[in-house]
Amino acid sequence: MGLSFGIALTLLLLARWHGGETMPLYSPHLSVLLGGLVFGMAARANGGCFVGTINGLCQGEARRLFTVVGWVMGYALLRLPSLPAHRQSPLEVVLVLAALAALLLVLNRIAKRQQQSFRPNPAAPGLQGNLAWVLMLSTRTLVGLLHHSGLPWDPSSLAKGLGASLRGAPLRAITAYGLIVPLGMLVVHGLRRDWRPLAITPKDWLLLPWGMLMALGSAWGMGANDTYLFRYLPLGSLHAAVGLAAMVAGIAINPNDLLTGVAGQRAATKA
């Protein structure tokens, strides 16, 4: 939320200085809700979102290659639905900014009550204090500037480009920008020497269909977690708020529990 708030603030300043944003926004739609749910459930079964998967791959988890191939195949087999797009007004950006600020204040109040220090990522408890602030402030400003540049730098863009090329579309050189984020991750893991190479096991191929489902959810939802948080939410696109909420609900549902539940019901019926 802090990142999205910062990106929105940067975009607002850029819009004042540079004549406004030109990227399209989308209205919430049933397919966005469904796409968010499918993406969330598939991402949980996969063990990571787009960014988490790429980060795992850069740390030596070779099995993540199955997920990445699944994304490319998913994007190759599916076409993006054409939701009606509209241009956002400065008022929409201000509204999103105000909503994100209000949400941050509420979360801050809850954290203060529970006497918790500032931790932007609960999954990384070591990240707090000045380092956390510097990382968040620098990332949100840079992402805001990158977003304004229109470069396809986010992790899912490369998979989309490769998938489209498998469908026959020309592969543009600019797609290679998607390789630079993993390069930054490799630098960090190289400096930290925190490689955790994992050998591929036969059951790892199951990550391939989960990867395809992630691509399917992202296509239906007109975005995934990286594009929602770093691109559409800061722009004031309501579809990102709906998609993100559905995604969080999807992550909370464990697909293995559902499969176990169905198998259990069948066994109970037979008995």
Binding site: A43, R44, N46, G47, G48, C49, V51, G52, N55, C58, P120, N121, P122, A123, A124, L127, A132, L135, S138, T139, L142, V143, L145, L146, S149, L151, W153, Y177, I180, V181, P182, L183, G184, M185, V187, V188, H189, N225, L229, M247, V248, I251, A252
Partner: protein, 32 residues
């Protein structure tokens, strides 16, 4: 110059994402 700055910015963002272990799935599951 724009290209070099852009690439440096993207590398920095990639480094920040790796340092913060950014992952929506892990974040949501650790909040539960």
């Amino acid at each position: 110059m724009f290209t070099i700055f852009s690439m440096l910015a993207i590398v920095t963002v990639g480094m920040a994402l790796a340092m913060s272990q950014f992952c929506l799935v892990r974040s949501v599951l650790s909040l539960r």
